[in-house]
């Protein structure tokens, strides 16, 4: 009798532990404040590098949008620059052709345009998997680029749209030469976007995305509307990439058709994989490390800087298959094991 009682109380305790994990998983943990504190610290430590800092944050946002679809839903794409480009050109065209230069409403417009293109292309493309999808996403980005090239009277062709003037932020803050306003502006938008992505990732929908990544066959078998889930997340990721592109145009005050380049699709994927996929903060680590090293190497050797990046990638593939964050996790695990024993 007593034995069965302890057994059932053990079982209840085991249930409680298991439930607690899921209940508390989405709660804010203190290490999560670290990237934000560093971003603010960077503002005070490197006041003369804020133009560069703003660009890094834009790439963080771009990589974050890719993490939603690649890291969580397992969609492999080589055309994510398409949505970055749509966002960038939405802002550029609004200013150059319609004289609409208010930054925040332009961001919304860019998000909506990118979402629309994401929805339409996703609806057709997300029936495919693997290599087929890779080629189709790549083709989509090239087609959009060439569409721009077809009408240079509107898009400015390969010369792009130079010398755009953005209206002051909130009608009050003018953009300084050091990029201080821009940096804080991008950081603010990134914080909002990050909050949204974090909610999505820990929602039941986010759980279903990981299910699709882990085993799409079983998802069909348990009744999941897989295509609808994928199109939804693809549309959201496109919107976020569009916002990143919009910020790119706004902070640089110009845009050219190179935003659609395959290089950009590849670069954002490399960043994310370098940092670690499916981890939210992989985008932060990957983008910052990549951008800082690129900047450092290109100063060191303006002709051979890509060698350094290549070397880094080889090392990452050899020793950090799950990205730098994966490496940190493994190190943490080994450390805590040693402590126990």
């Amino acid at each position: 009798m007593a034995a069965s009682e302890t057994k059932s109380s053990e079982r209840i305790a085991a249930r409680e532990r298991a439930a607690e994990y899921l209940v508390s998983r989405h709660r804010f943990q203190w290490p999560e404040a670290l990237p934000w504190l560093l971003a603010i610290a960077a503002f005070f430590i490197f006041p003369d590098r804020m133009t560069f800092g703003g660009q890094v944050l834009i790439w963080v946002m771009f990589a974050l949008s890719l993490d939603l679809i690649l890291g969580y839903a397992g969609i492999v794409t080589l055309g994510h620059a398409a949505f970055f480009g749509i966002g960038a050109y939405t802002v550029g065209l609004l200013i150059a052709r319609l004289s609409w230069s208010e930054p925040l409403s332009s961001l919304v417009a860019a998000a909506l345009m990118a979402a629309l293109i994401g929805f339409i292309s996703g609806w057709f493309l997300l029936r495919y998997l693997g290599l087929t999808l890779l080629m189709l996403t790549l083709a989509t980005a090239i087609m959009l680029q060439e569409t721009g090239n077809l009408r240079p009277d509107i898009s400015g062709g390969y010369d792009g749209l130079p010398g755009l003037t953005i209206a002051p932020l909130f009608g009050k803050f003018y953009y300084d030469l050091y990029g201080h306003v821009n940096y804080l502006y991008v950081l603010g938008v990134l914080a909002i976007v990050f909050y949204l992505v974090r909610r999505i990732v820990y929602s039941p929908f986010g759980q279903a995305l990981t299910g699709i990544r882990e085993n799409v066959r079983r998802m069909h078998a348990i009744g999941s509307p897989v295509h609808r889930r994928l199109v939804t997340v693809y549309t959201i990721a496109a919107a976020i990439a569009g916002v990143a592109g919009a910020l790119f145009t706004q902070t640089n005050a110009y845009v050219t058709l190179t935003v659609f380049d395959f290089d950009n699709s590849a670069k954002v994927m490399v960043m994310l994989i370098l940092g670690g996929t499916g981890r939210l903060y992989g985008a932060f680590v990957g983008a910052v490390v990549y951008m800082v090293l690129e900047d450092y190497f290109s100063k060191l050797s303006p002709t051979f800087w890509q060698f350094g990046i290549g070397l880094l990638l080889v090392l990452a593939v050899l020793f950090a298959r799950r990205g730098l964050l994966g490496l940190v996790e493994d190190a943490g695990r080994t450390f805590s094991k040693r402590e126990k024993s």
């Binding site: 989405h26 759980q207 299910g211 066959r217 999941s224 939804t232």
Partner: protein, 256 residues
């Protein structure tokens, strides 16, 4: 409401020139316990794939509770109460056992369309998932990743997911396949204790299990129903012995 939970009428399917389902008629009453047996390559798994919508038949109909579901998608059939397990595990290997179950319940209830609330905020979902795990004695494994479990435990998760769908019709494709016999009894106990309201079709090679569990048996040979009947009738049927059990004997002889 139809008296049959599941009906299959005149089902035909071919892989190229090879017919794999030939005019198959099969029905499961509410709460039925039917076994599907037949030699390797008889088309048993193909039939499960045709019933669940993985494959589309070239002709014939599938009815669930009297409603024609032949044209509906796999997911739609699952939402209407048709669940299956796979011969080879199809699990969410990189997720915890508990998440495997919670996600299944979430998809069943349409919760997974929610992008905003946290997945852990509905205690009822977690409790139900734990109940399912409890009944299969998997609670202690609930926070382990599926891929870290031994194969026999994974097999139980495979069944737990199907049960979490709260199906009215359950198709079990060799639930104990690949599990050492020292552990397979655990799985077969679970199968034996299934809710009597669920209509069950089980594919199984172990004749002891088939005769213990099933109230009806369908014998499939070369994509066609060879015969159907109670376990006693099938056991007494000389043709079945020749076609099925005989072939098994032949195989055994070859290995020896």
């Amino acid at each position: 409401m139809s008296e049959h939970a599941l009906e299959v009428e005149g089902l035909h399917h071919a892989f190229g020139a090879l017919p794999v389902a030939r005019d198959i008629n099969l029905s499961l009453a509410r709460g039925a316990r039917r076994a599907l047996i037949g030699p390797n390559g008889a088309g048993k798994t193909t039939l499960v794939n045709l019933i669940t919508g993985v494959l589309r038949p070239s002709s014939g109909r599938v009815l669930l509770d009297g409603a024609d579901i032949t044209a509906t998608s796999q997911a739609e059939r699952a939402r209407r109460g048709l669940a299956r397990t796979f011969q080879i595990n199809q699990l969410f290997r990189g997720l915890t056992v508990l998440e495997n179950l919670c996600m299944t319940i979430g998809e069943r209830d349409g919760e997974c369309s929610n992008l905003w609330r946290s997945a852990g905020s509905k205690r009822a979902v977690i409790d139900e998932a734990l109940d399912h795990l409890d009944s299969l004695r998997l609670v202690d494994d609930s926070l382990k990743l599926v891929r870290e479990l031994p194969y026999g435990r994974q097999r139980l998760v495979e069944i737990a997911i199907a049960l979490a769908q709260k199906p009215r019709v359950l198709l079990l494709d060799e639930p104990a396949a690949g599990v050492p016999s020292s552990e397979s009894h655990l799985i077969l106990d679970v199968v034996a204790a299934l809710d009597p309201d669920i209509a069950v079709l089980i594919i199984e090679h172990d004749m002891d299990v088939v005769f213990r569990f099933a109230k009806q048996i369908t014998v499939l040979v070369q994509g066609a129903v060879f015969t159907q009947g109670t376990p006693e009738e099938i056991m007494a049927n000389e043709d079945v012995r020749a076609v099925y059990l005989g072939q098994e004997g032949h195989k055994g002889g070859r290995h020896a």
